[in-house]
């Protein structure tokens, strides 16, 4: 029983990571209907950035905040420079450019920092009061951070003018433009926010999976599964999907298939969701006119 509880709770903790990356994927999908294959590598790059800043003498939280700001700028810049020209091109073009971006980010990180793994500090002290027999302080911290992100994203969309503008652009770009919303900048903003969410996920993941250019490979796959399960159009769905996938992955790894082939769990979830309920648990069904 105790083992089961352990697996369940650590599943929830890693689920928090998947949820954050899935949330970032949904931010971009909602606005542009693109699935960003490079989202994991962006998060990895942000984590390396934070590591560099800390090596340079910044305290953890200073490096954390600075990384968020820089990630926001980088995300918005990538949208404006690389993604903008191919926005309306066929799906293949978009997928190819994202895969190219994945290659570039991964190899540039490898080029600068090398492929040996580095340790990354956790902001949550190991002996904090919320640490327990079942969950380490970092795991509790990760779940809290994910939930905080979700609340912030929800509040942003629900209570701010910018959030409203973003929802409008996602639903009807042409009409939004007619009422004076600068759709181009809104899309860049969406990318910037997605990068910030990814950066948080990267910095939360790094203490567990260690820092190296390929650290996000598996996480990205589970995040795809999470985002599809929750529905690519629903931030709440992405977070719930993340936690569900995390728990499923851990329980399946412990009791069903063994830890060796845990990645296939993601494959099964992805194929299953696409077959049974392509819009996900909480997503809108999109009807297109022909």
């Amino acid at each position: 029983m105790e083992n089961f509880l352990n697996q369940l709770l650590s599943g929830l903790a890693t689920g928090g990571l998947y949820a954050s990356i899935a949330l970032a994927l949904v931010m971009i999908y909602q606005a542009t209907h693109h699935v960003n294959f490079a989202q994991g590598e962006l998060a990895m790059f942000s984590a390396f950035l934070a590591w560099t800043l800390m090596q340079g003498g910044f305290s953890y939280w200073a490096a954390f905040l600075l990384t968020l700001v820089l990630s926001f700028i980088a995300g918005a810049a990538i949208e404006r420079i690389i993604i903008r020209p191919i926005e309306d091109k066929p799906v293949l073009t978009v997928v190819v450019v994202f895969v190219g971006l994945l290659f570039v980010l991964n190899s540039v990180a490898g080029w600068i920092y090398g492929y040996d793994i580095k340790s990354f500090p956790s902001p949550f002290p190991a002996n904090a009061w919320y640490a327990s027999r079942f969950m380490s302080a970092h795991q509790v911290g990760m779940i809290t951070v994910t939930l905080a992100l979700l609340i912030l994203v929800f509040a942003f969309f629900r209570f701010t003018a910018l959030g409203l503008a973003m929802r409008a652009v996602a639903q009807n770009p042409v009409s939004s433009q007619l009422v004076g919303i600068r759709t181009g900048w809104i899309l860049a903003l969406g990318w910037g926010l997605a990068s910030v969410i990814g950066a948080v996920a990267g910095m939360m993941a790094a203490p567990i999976v260690y820092l190296d250019p390929n650290m996000m490979g598996g996480i990205l796959l589970y995040a795809f599964a999470a985002a599809l399960l929750g529905g690519l159009t629903s931030p709440l769905g992405a977070v719930i999907g993340g936690f569900v996938v995390g728990v499923l992955e851990n329980l399946a790894g412990a009791y069903v298939v063994g830890t060796e082939i845990k990645l296939s769990v993601a494959l099964v979830i992805i194929v299953g969701v696409l077959l049974l309920r392509p819009s996900g648990l909480f997503g809108r069904t999109v009807v297109t006119r022909v």
Partner: protein
């Protein structure tokens, strides 16, 4: 010279070069040339699917792996001669591809990219799985002997080169014939407008799954050949990056172009070798930059570029035929 005369001359020159290559190259370079042929087969299969049928697969490395493992297992465990394993590997991949394509035919564009991506990421782990390890050899993989040349004057590498060439050329002819016949028009019609194709009586579901199956078969045959020429398979030989470099090959060579598949094969065999002399990370950096740049500068790859140049040259001449209608990009 008319265009068909130029084509004939080009084919003759190509044939001479292909036949002469293994006699002028060192045995290592012959091996590389053989790898190009193998990649060319895999890329042709993937191009059938992505370029002509408009279905995106990021996971053909998985079928390549199935083909390679089928050959390695049949040669070492059953003691079958290596050439006999190739049709079996191809048939197996045809079936597996068809089955994977069954659910996939409900998915369009992006939604097919995701499960195939997941398949490619999960492949090395699945090959390593302890229940199948007795068969696949686990992390160590499987090694076997290099086949001897049955033709006397040829050494082993030269023999393998001609062996692969003799399999690749019929596969190219089959692919070319498939595409210019009724079947090919159906495949392309589905890419251009699935609903209109359906209204004209094309069985979308059948053609999409069958194309997926055939394209997996090409990848499987290529995988089988790669196992024969390297005499080694291991889970680490089939990472997600293998599948993604197939995508690179197609984009560079030219989406929806048969010669383009061969050009792409040359690219993915040699560019990483050259680039890795700069840095370990360089090949992937080059791939990434090339992918992005190709989408902006030459969306139809090298083949498209040649076509455009050829058309321009021809329209300058007075007796030129009218240029063919511009091709629509797939999607």
């Amino acid at each position: 010279m008319s265009r068909s005369q130029i084509n004939t001359a080009g084919f003759a020159a190509l044939a001479v070069v292909l036949l002469a290559l293994p006699f002028v190259l060192s045995s290592y370079h012959t091996f590389q040339a053989t790898m190009v042929i193998v990649y060319a087969v895999a890329l042709l299969g993937l191009n059938l699917l992505i370029g002509y049928n408009g279905q995106i697969s990021l996971g053909h490395g998985a079928f390549f792996a199935i083909g390679a493992y089928t050959t390695a297992i049949l040669v070492t465990k059953v003691g079958m001669p290596y050439w006999m394993t190739i049709p079996i590997a191809g048939a197996l991949c045809l079936v597996v591809g068809f089955l994977f394509g069954l659910p996939a035919l409900r998915l369009e564009g992006l939604y097919l990219a995701l499960p195939t991506f997941a398949l490619a990421v999960a492949t090395p782990q699945l090959l390593n799985y302890n229940r199948v390890a007795p068969l696949t050899g686990g992390v160590q993989g499987i090694m076997f002997d290099k086949p001897d040349s049955p033709v006397l004057p040829l050494d082993q590498d030269q023999w393998l080169y001609f062996f692969c060439l003799a399999i690749a050329i019929p596969l190219y002819i089959v692919g070319w014939n498939l595409l210019r016949a009724r079947t090919g028009r159906a495949i392309v019609a589905i890419r251009d407008h699935a609903m209109a194709a359906g209204a004209m009586g094309i069985d979308n579901a059948f053609y999409k799954t069958a194309t997926f199956g055939v394209s997996a078969m090409y990848a499987g045959i290529a995988g089988s050949l790669s196992a024969i020429i390297t005499q080694f398979v291991a889970p680490d030989s089939f990472p997600i990056f293998l599948s993604l470099s197939f995508l690179v090959g197609i984009v560079v060579g030219g989406v929806a172009s048969i010669p383009g598949a061969a050009v792409g094969a040359v690219f993915i065999e040699f560019v990483p070798n050259v680039a890795s002399e700069i840095s370990d990370a360089a090949p992937w950096a080059v791939y990434g930059i090339v992918l992005i740049a190709a989408m902006y500068l030459m969306p139809e790859g090298v083949a498209g570029l040649c076509r455009t140049l050829g058309n321009r040259l021809e329209t300058r001449r007075p007796a030129a035929r009218p240029a063919p209608a511009p091709r629509r990009a797939p999607g």
